[in-house]
Symmetry: C2
Subunit: 350 residues, 2 copies
Amino acid sequence: MVIKTAGELDKLIRDVLTAAGADERNANRVAEALVSSSMRGVDTHGILHLPSYVEKIQAGEIVPTAWPEILQEDTTSALIGGNWTFGHVTAKYAMDIAIKKAEAHNVAIVSMVQVNHIGRLGEYAEMAAAKGMLSVVWAGGFGEEKPVAVPYGGRQPVLSTNPIGMGFPVGDGPPMVIDYATTTVAGSKVMTAKDRNIPLPAGSVVDKDGVPSTDPDAFIDGGALLPFGAHKGYALMLAVEFFGRILSGADGFSDEEKRGGPTFRHSGVSLLVVKADLFQAATVYSKRAEELANRVRSVPPAPGFESVLIPGDLEARAEATRTRDGIPIPNPLWQRLTALADSLDVNIGV
Amino acid sequence: MVIKTAGELDKLIRDVLTAAGADERNANRVAEALVSSSMRGVDTHGILHLPSYVEKIQAGEIVPTAWPEILQEDTTSALIGGNWTFGHVTAKYAMDIAIKKAEAHNVAIVSMVQVNHIGRLGEYAEMAAAKGMLSVVWAGGFGEEKPVAVPYGGRQPVLSTNPIGMGFPVGDGPPMVIDYATTTVAGSKVMTAKDRNIPLPAGSVVDKDGVPSTDPDAFIDGGALLPFGAHKGYALMLAVEFFGRILSGADGFSDEEKRGGPTFRHSGVSLLVVKADLFQAATVYSKRAEELANRVRSVPPAPGFESVLIPGDLEARAEATRTRDGIPIPNPLWQRLTALADSLDVNIGV
């Protein structure tokens, strides 16, 4: 394990991405997104992704100097074309627009197409919450070419992890931020379980015949991921597909063979933003939101739990710890990052 | 079991409610809502509720001649005060407004306060879908006085069933309609399981010490309902509380002691409506929505399942069956309904 500061990782990411062809504006934004995730303990969406982004640039899936544009717009909505730049760039651009529209008109809905991996959905929900707004982020369409998730009661995958993010300002404290795949686990967790030779949680996967299993190999050998929470999580997975891919019209923007690669070529992401103080003073909203959060947190824990949390609490704790102690990077990842830097003649100064 | 037509139930409900003090406009609307649920096989939200609505009128919780009003409004949002009329009246009034605003401005958010039980959330999602719109319905605040649901990892209830509804037009077929409690089961299902002496599904309840159980008595003896899908369903439950109770500012409208009763006095319901053809032609949206629905339905079923459904399929099937065969009413319920009619001197003509 090596320990790095946010500043060190930020510089590493910017240097690697500019060496790989990104312009400074884009490299800065991707560094911001990855470091923000790593700082919050969401390592699955942090610097881990840097090597794959470089590969996607080299494969023509990401256009590292492109910039998003507004394809259609009115007072409360916009359709953003990402032009296949980094998804983090497109999603921040889109959320900025959604926030401005909601500031002026109370509510806004903004969709994105031609959008690569946007990283941690919670980051965009945090942006909205910091401006006093409730938000929802729906990201669909990842499974059009390589489906990994079965519908409830089905034996063949036709959908994907279909993540959803939501954010709610909570007084002076950190916002309540929700960000999860609508599958029980993501594919990366299956691989981690296999590496560690441990079973998956019940309800995670089915084998190739549609039979539920906790064996990582059942997934690897032609199986698929299950929606979380049986038919209820499955319904949410479908809702994400409708609000993400279908509403955005993403299918009409996926004509370029290389761009986006199989996972993002058909993907569409939509944002809903609503002013928290739409129907009451901001101070009153804040007081009520804080009361709810604190009431829930003060519930005595059930056996096996240390405390009751609200979504976002773990990330806020991790951020405090990592601000103080730095970001731990597992050695194998660090070796991949230094090898990547070497391959691009980037001096990472360590 | 007795069998009744939609028309027979409609007349019974209207006659009983007007005898109990409702005006004709309100009685007609409640009959429409209850019959619609009974027709779709959602008996938990159908004519079953009629006796309790009469009790709530008599207790002053429902004001059966009141009508909702607009408390605040702009081009894309409105806050509706239900004036403690039947929730079905308020919610349809609010959804009509949301649809009109979204027709003119593409997206709308409308919240309700002073709102009694609105019945089946899916009915409002169906209204929006029939006008070519995507929608979300969040109903929160039921647990302020009588909480029944624990947070994930907690041993004391502080929340409630916090239902969510969503609707999506799907070409010429029935819409995809989602409508569920964010608890694994509703309290009524616990009672049904106890009556039948069968265990609850895993993850349904905790006992008074917060230990998960499948025993209905564990719930009855000081236990509580669990959110569905562990931390993910719990997060959705909290999101419903924010979009429902907190966003609407419902807490500021609950000063009348009798009105709404303990469950609805603090409740707030919010509606999001978005035009399905916001970013593409309606015909293109429809084609893509239908393709998704049919692709999912055509997945071969897993062992133990007959077919793969999308949300709303079961209700559409039930409606076809009950249109042909009538609505079955269990004898004990029918006896309660006839006794109720007798007590109000209503001649139900059977």
